[in-house]
């Protein structure tokens, strides 16, 4: 690992800034560095790009569905894995942004790229709501298991509230909230295009858009986590008192990390609604709230790569189990969590990648 270094001072500031941020793609807070690692990343992206050529629309649509959840998982990875605050209620921001996307798009339609504006507003709403909850939690000195209790309470309160909005009086403009049955009828993400808008229904086009977003989000988070901001989050996780006694306003950092996690959960929520044109209160319920914790714990909460891969693997496995094993899928998820906690507390994927890396080094020697 190299110390943080500024590039040549004679370069233009914008170019220097870009170089500095690109240098943060690798660093102490993220696994993987060097040409071999990036070659694997490029190969993985190329494989994902060519996947639709070999698979049918249904399977590709399923893969797009898996991508939808990765943002919430990576956000929880930042909040829990890097900052040390276990949030049990990321689904509150997921659901809020999902409903917001529905309400906005039902009211303003999908012309002129309005669905993308709705997506942005929904993500912002998830982030702002998380900042608000984070402000009261962290400045109120809530920590440890109580963060989990408060966040779980928030998502369950939202679920309960939305479930009782069945009457016709529960509407925002043209959008009926529809209580327990949930909202439907909102348009999917729509790209304005000469000769006719492109509707991103579940399929190849949506798959590519979501793949691009996942890659950008992953690389962006790598840069952020290897920047001074990420270093401070890790310091807070390891020893909050020491971090504060080095001059860091730890509550501000915790709140910002929580806001980022909320915005990413909101992105998943809005994309989920756009993907299925459907959102229900159960998306904020207990089962929904527990699943992101399983994905992140099984993948590895302390590394964003492990979180991303773990999330994709566990969701794919969960879906297969749901098809073939019905409700037993949840029991398997629980067992997987217990196994991870007892045998590989750093996460199955994280541990596997670490061991493979060590083996690779030994073989090279």
């Amino acid at each position: 690992m190299n110390p943080i270094e500024l590039p040549d001072a004679s370069e233009a500031p914008a170019r220097r800034g870009l170089k500095l941020w690109l240098s943060r793609l690798e660093g102490p807070q993220t696994m993987g560095r060097g040409p071999a690692f990036w070659a694997v990343v490029v190969l993985a992206v190329l494989a994902a790009l060519s996947y639709p050529a070999f698979a049918n629309d249904y399977v590709v649509g399923n893969a797009a569905y898996f991508f939808v959840w990765t943002f919430m998982a990576m956000g929880l990875g930042v909040v829990w894995g890097y900052c040390g605050a276990l949030s049990f209620g990321q689904t509150a921001f997921f659901g809020l942004a999902g409903y917001a996307y529905g309400v906005i798009t039902i009211n303003i339609g999908s012309a002129f790229g309005a669905t993308w504006l709705a997506l942005l507003l929904a993500v912002a709403l998830g982030g702002v709501f998380a900042l608000l909850i984070g402000y009261f939690m962290f400045y109120g000195r809530i920590k440890g298991v109580f963060v989990g209790i408060v966040t779980l309470s928030v998502t369950l309160v939202l679920e309960t509230f939305m479930a009782q909005t069945a009457g016709p009086q529960w509407r925002i403009g043209d959008a009926r909230l529809n209580g327990f049955n949930g909202m439907s009828g909102m348009p999917p993400l729509t790209v304005p295009w000469p000769g006719g808008d492109i509707m991103l229904y579940s399929g190849t086009a949506l798959y590519y858009v979501l793949l691009g977003m996942v890659v950008l989000c992953y690389l962006g988070l790598r840069m952020l986590l290897n920047a001074p901001f990420g270093n401070v989050l890790v310091a807070i996780r390891e020893n909050p008192e020491r971090a504060e006694m080095l001059g860091y306003d730890i509550r501000l950092y915790q709140m910002l990390a929580f806001g980022l996690g909320g915005a990413l959960a909101g992105l998943s929520g809005a994309l989920y609604t756009a993907w299925g044109q459907y959102i229900t209160p159960s998306s904020m319920g207990l089962t929904a709230a527990a699943l992101p914790i399983v994905w992140v714990a099984v993948g590895g909460r302390r590394d964003i790569t492990a979180t991303l891969l773990g999330c994709l693997l566990v969701i794919a496995g969960f879906q297969s189990l749901t098809i073939y094993g019905s409700q037993y899928a949840l029991v398997v998820m629980g067992a997987l969590l217990v196994f991870t906690v007892l045998v590989t507390p750093d996460g199955l994927v994280f541990t596997a990648i670490n061991r493979m890396g060590r083996l690779f080094k030994r073989v090279r020697r």
Partner: protein
């Protein structure tokens, strides 16, 4: 001499327990001073009041000419106070280099950050441990790492809570030498310490705390000979 620390009529109670009782305490810039006292005398509580971890019931804390009584901990640190805890306050899962970079990155960036890390590694004799996770260092090395983290950006005042707790005699001696070097660079040092031999190595002037109040202040030899101090802290001579 200018006053770096000026504490006036400081009081703090938790329920019926008084941990600070009308404390008036002045520290001149450039001093190296020790706080001693028996267990429960209020030494650590006094540190926590100085650091802003506890808010005083009454009284004021002045630092380098500013009233910092209402400031939060991180704001006090940014003004130039630094601290080394009794139990090493380091980031055990992170490497020695990461510990130091996190400690300095608020003030330093780029090449100056790297240069300061290199200088502190040399000062703390940890150059060979740069990639070692801090948690696997020896106890003495962990203490030195924390001292390095606390002094890399040259604070005005360094608070040390039992800096040699758990150290071997050799490590204790080396720590004393480090503190003299830091003090010679202009860093004012206030240390809580139990080891009287170490107190004599690093400071000529001491303050004795007893039941949250200042019991005695003065030269180390006078204090150790003070019958009242022997009674409350060192144990009566005839015991």
């Amino acid at each position: 001499m200018t006053r770096i620390l000026d504490v006036a009529k400081l009081n703090k109670s938790f329920g019926g327990v008084t941990v600070a009782r009308d404390i008036d305490f002045v520290l001149e810039a450039g001093a190296m001073h020790c706080l001693i006292g028996p267990n429960g005398a209020g030494k650590s509580s006094f540190f926590r009041l100085l650091l802003g971890e506890h808010a005083p019931d009454s009284g004021t804390i002045g630092f380098a000419g500013d009233d910092i009584t209402a400031l939060r901990s991180f704001q006090r640190i940014r003004k130039g106070i630094s601290v080394k805890f009794q139990v090493p306050g380091i980031f055990k899962a992170l490497s020695v280099r990461q510990n130091l970079e996190i400690a300095f990155q608020y003030h330093l960036h780029g090449a100056s950050l790297g240069e300061t890390v290199r200088r502190v590694l040399e000062f703390t004799n940890l150059t060979g441990e740069i990639h070692t996770p801090a948690g696997v260092l020896s106890h003495g090395q962990q203490q030195w790492l924390e001292i390095g983290m606390a002094v890399g950006v040259e604070p005005k005042l360094l608070l040390l809570d039992e800096p040699t707790a758990g150290m071997s005699p050799d490590e204790t001696r080396k720590t004393g030498e480090m503190l003299h070097e830091l003090n010679a660079r202009g860093i004012t040092i206030l240390a809580v310490e139990h080891d009287m031999a170490f107190v004599q190595q690093i400071a000529r002037s001491v303050t004795v705390l007893h039941m949250g109040a200042i019991f005695a202040e003065g030269d180390i030899d006078e204090i150790t000979a003070h019958p009242g101090v022997q009674e409350i802290y060192l144990g009566a001579a005839d015991e």
